[in-house]
């Protein structure tokens, strides 16, 4: 039997709104502090209280961060989902439950070891009040788990202290609850289980962070001053994160006045309008949203494209179409974003794969938007945005200065003979911009209706065409400016895997597995749109390209066909769109089943 020290996964089933989140976080963080690589996936309902919610924790000494669908231990604390949860434990695994009440016979599997802990009973005996008893029950299981998995009690203590430093009462009760759970388990089972933790030194240069928080840090560091938004899951925490950081780093020490403005709009049409207005006036402005918001922003995105106004949008994708499953993940907005709005349009898109890239691409988004004077959409997703990922510490180069693009200053305008807003002066397809309130010579009339290169209203065919042809050239030229694809070549590989965004973690793990099975594969992950030529080259170098993505219709493959001209016949879609994060398992079975057909 393989040694599972620091290499296992477990799942905690509770009901939401009962405080289990903090218990799960505590366990995650404790493992992390032991120096052991760990990731957590939160599977929660679109509801505030009382519905089933799961938290999956994967411990991987190899540092794999993808979701795994195989669970060694199930912490089944929600009777509403017992049956489902019992079924999900791997054969030979463990199941911990609240033994205050007996388990129904039909829930008993003889290939699973059951660990009963009378959590409710323990808490009822030791705490007063319904609410506290419920909350403490969820801390108690953390204690029990810490014993079963061999989590260092010191670390747990230290973490609880940090958390409740300012609330001694809470600290005591939490500590008590943890002990209750731990002591009971120690007294009744021999600990730890074969799935156990051992201190490592693999996390000291890393952090545990979600992608919405890191993206909001990116906005802060990029110098964004205007944030406009309308709340929507799973994008909400991005703006809330930004607000939090601004309150800490953007308040004038003397006057206590703010160096930012966050506008909670009445809807997404208004939010993107505010971003466009602010960018037009010269601020770095952004709005976070999700699929429904992208649909509503369509008209305005076309205006920004045609009137050539920077705008930064974060689409934290969730499961569509329509309202879909707001608390599930997907990569379903690729096409909608790339060609948003009626008429001929194309938008620069960035595709982070984890919270670190979410941070970096947030910064890049503002530079690209201002340099190319057009909307830039960062396509994150719920998995990146709301789950806790272990990533290398974020770093910042203090020499960084924003690329504001071709904006004429008052001095330049003074010197200039005259100014034409949409003239391709430098032959790079990018005209010069002016900001309102700066200089009389800079004035022009911005419009989404037909305009000439001089910026005048026109219904003249040639004048109209000259401008939109240049805009097409301009946006295509961004292919060389967006983050280049990640490409990995493996010895003996004849086929390739092509993917995007959060699929990365699962793909690289899957490639290791398949390489071990004698199937080495090359790898390409697109990071920006329009695609650079390396993408076409890679696709053409490989007879077979497995295009891995999280949507039903193979939208990445569609973009690849449209933009590179590589025929569909070279691309095999491997699709997973059930709403949970992708696992290596899906990729491996996807590839092997395709191979079955191919050979």
């Amino acid at each position: 039997m393989r040694d599972q020290t620091n290499d296992f996964a477990f799942k905690i089933a509770t009901a939401n709104g009962t405080g289990s989140a903090s218990a799960n976080g505590l366990i995650m963080q404790a493992i992390f502090r032991m120096g052991v690589p760990v990731t957590g996936k939160n599977l929660f309902p679109s509801n505030i209280q009382g519905l089933p919610t799961w938290y999956e924790i994967r411990v991987s000494k190899h540092g794999y961060t993808a979701r795994t669908p195989i669970f060694d231990l199930m912490v089944a604390l929600n009777p509403a989902t017992y049956a489902k949860d019992v079924a999900e434990v791997r054969s030979g695994g463990w199941l911990m439950y609240d033994s205050t009440w007996p388990l129904h016979d039909e829930l008993i599997r003889d290939d699973v070891t059951y660990i009963g802990v009378p959590l409710a009973q323990l808490c009822n005996e030791n705490f007063k009040g319904v609410r506290e008893r419920i909350l403490m029950k969820n801390i108690a299981y953390a204690g029990a788990l810490s014993a079963l998995l061999g989590i260092d009690p010191e670390i747990i203590l230290e973490l609880t202290k940090e958390k409740y430093s300012r609330k001694p009462a809470l600290l005591d009760s939490n500590q008590k609850a943890i002990d209750l759970g731990r002591d009971y388990v120690h007294a009744n089972y021999d600990c730890p289980l074969p799935i156990r933790l051992q201190p490592m030194d693999a996390t000291k240069d890393s952090i545990l962070i979600d992608g919405n928080t890191s993206a909001s840090l990116g906005c802060l560091y990029a110098g964004a001053t205007v944030g406009a938004w309308y709340p929507i899951t799973p994008a909400t925490s991005l703006m809330e994160g930004f607000k939090g950081f601004c309150q800490k780093y953007r308040v004038d020490p003397e006057t206590k006045q703010n160096r930012y403005a966050i506008l909670q709009a009445e809807d997404e049409l208004s939010a993107i309008g505010m971003v466009i207005g602010a960018s037009w006036a010269g601020a770095r402005a952004f709005t976070p949203t999700a699929g429904p918001g992208i649909s509503l922003m369509g008209e305005f995105l076309g205006l920004a494209y045609y009137a050539e106004i920077p705008a930064v949008v974060f689409d934290v994708q969730r499961t569509g179409p329509s309202t879909g499953m707001p608390t599930r993940t997907q990569q379903g907005d690729l096409m909608s974003c790339a060609y948003a709005s009626h008429g001929d349009t194309k938008h620069i898109c960035l595709f982070p794969s984890d919270p670190r890239e979410a941070f970096e691409m947030a910064v890049a988004a503002f530079d690209l938007a201002e340099r190319f004077q057009t909307p830039v959409i960062v396509l994150s997703d719920l998995d990146i945005g709301m789950n806790d990922w272990m990533i290398p510490k974020l770093t910042w180069d203090d020499r960084y200065r924003p690329d504001r693009g071709k904006v004429l200053s008052a001095e330049e305008l003074d010197a200039a003979k005259n100014f034409a807003r949409y003239l391709d002066v430098d032959g790079d397809g990018i005209p010069y911009r002016t900001l309102p309130g700066v200089h009389p010579k800079g004035s022009y009339f911005t419009r989404g209706s037909g305009h000439s290169k001089m910026g005048a209203y026109t219904e003249d065919s040639d004048e109209y065409q000259e401008v939109i042809d240049r805009i097409a050239r301009k946006v295509d030229s961004a292919a060389d400016a967006v983050p280049s694809p990640v490409i990995l070549h493996n010895k003996g590989a004849r086929m390739g895997i092509v993917t995007v965004g959060a699929c990365h973690a699962a793909c690289v793990e899957a490639m290791d597995l398949m390489a071990a099975d004698g199937l080495p594969l090359d790898y390409l992950r697109v990071r920006g749109f329009p695609f650079g030529d390396e993408v076409r080259q890679f696709l053409e170098e490989h007879e077979v390209n497995f295009v891995v993505e999280q949507n039903r219709d193979g939208q990445l493959r569609s973009l690849l066909m449209l933009e590179t001209g590589v025929p569909r016949s070279r691309m095999q879609s491997i699709l997973y769109y059930a709403g949970f994060p992708l696992s290596a398992h899906h990729v491996v079975t996807g590839v092997t089943s395709k191979l079955g057909v191919l050979v």
Binding site: I207, G223, S270, G273, G277, G282, H439
Partner: protein, 351 residues
């Protein structure tokens, strides 16, 4: 259109303001609206108001949506940036621009379709936010640019050019603004410059959202018998509740008013308004009284005009946001980016 650019000839004769600028310097390109369109008169009044206020054109930002009315920002202040956005969504564009640069002097021009149909939500929320914007609603009761369909301001019972009768209740922008807590509410008639100009000046000086509903007849589609937005009808039914005289900061207050007959309201820049009560017992600083009064006029079939309500000391959007003075756009990057050390430190939270 390009070939309509107006020759910018300077008549030495033309009167200059303190900046040495003539009215011509506040004009824009030649109007392409129908001859006699009420919107053109409003444009002329806007030119006059800016000239009299001696505002440097380039410090102004002009906003509009889509419609005949929304074309007009091209016809004034040639030297100001203009933004002809999309239909009904101008308020959000202006709010964003105002957030980026609160020093901009912002004017928005819209129509009743742009403002009360597709744009109603944005207008209402811009009022709530108290965006520092003078919002001129050129109200003709129809969609002019799409050839004369009823708009949401068409009165029940009024008829279209083809004779159809409007059955739906009308949205009265002024009453709605009052209900939403607007801090400046006026109604005028495009044909009445004497009334319009001082109100425009006050609106530009007002610190916050200045809502100005201007009845502006559409000669092509809504100037017939049976229309309640025609020149004839408006002339006949307009009644002025208050006359507002705008008194700039540096001018002395002449006490030429009969004592008691005038209400003096100070604006935040030190200039002020003298209200000469036409309807006595009217109080332009009492929201509920003005609401009731306007309703009374409605009942009497009268169109109440004038600077109907003002609350001079309110916080505009950026004050509510407690933002630093001056444009956010002029902050130094060093004051925006916490830098690498701070990043290193704050990440302790994530371990």
């Amino acid at each position: 259109m390009s070939y309509l650019a107006k020759p910018k000839v300077h008549h030495p004769s033309l009167k200059k303001n303190a900046l040495g600028l003539t009215r011509r310097d506040y004009e824009g390109s030649l109007s392409t609206l129908c001859a006699g369109c009420g919107h053109d008169s409003i444009t002329a009044a806007i030119v006059q108001a800016f000239w009299e206020l001696e505002i440097e054109p380039y410090k102004v930002a002009k906003f509009s949506g889509i419609g005949c009315s929304s074309k007009t920002p091209a016809y004034f202040l040639r030297e100001a940036h203009g933004f002809n956005s999309v239909h009904g969504r101008m308020p959000s564009i202006a709010a964003g621009a105002g957030a980026a640069n609160r020093d901009l002097i912002m004017i928005g021009v819209s129509g009743d379709g742009d403002s009360l149909s597709i744009g109603l939500g944005q207008l209402c929320h811009a009022i709530r936010r108290n965006v520092n914007l003078m919002y001129v609603l050129e109200n003709n009761g129809v969609y002019g640019l799409t050839k004369g369909q009823f708009s949401a301001s068409a009165d029940p019972g009024s008829t279209s050019k083809r004779g159809e009768v409007n059955s739906m209740s009308a949205i009265d922008g002024a009453l709605m603004a009052l209900t939403l807590g607007a801090t400046f509410v006026a109604r005028c008639f495009s044909g009445d410059k004497a009334q319009l100009i001082p109100i425009l000046k006050a609106g530009l000086v007002h610190n916050g959202f200045a809502f100005i509903d201007v009845i502006s007849p559409c000669v092509t589609f809504n100037d017939h018998e049976g229309s309640t937005k025609s020149y004839a009808y408006t002339r006949e039914h307009q009644i002025e509740l208050v006359q507002a005289d705008f008194v700039p900061v540096r001018e002395e207050i002449e006490a030429e008013y009969a004592p008691g007959s005038v209400q003096r309201v100070q604006l935040h820049d030190g200039s002020h308004l003298n209200f000469r009560k036409v309807a006595e017992d009217y109080d332009a600083t009492d929201r509920d009284k003005s609401y009731a009064y306007i309703r009374k006029c409605d009942e009497a079939g009268e169109v109440a005009t004038g600077l109907l309500f003002i609350d001079p000391d309110t916080k505009d959007m950026m004050e509510q946001a407690q933002a630093v003075p001056g444009p956010l756009t002029s902050l130094r990057f060093e004051d925006l980016c916490p830098g690498s050390e701070a990043l290193e430190k704050l990440q302790m939270r994530f371990r």
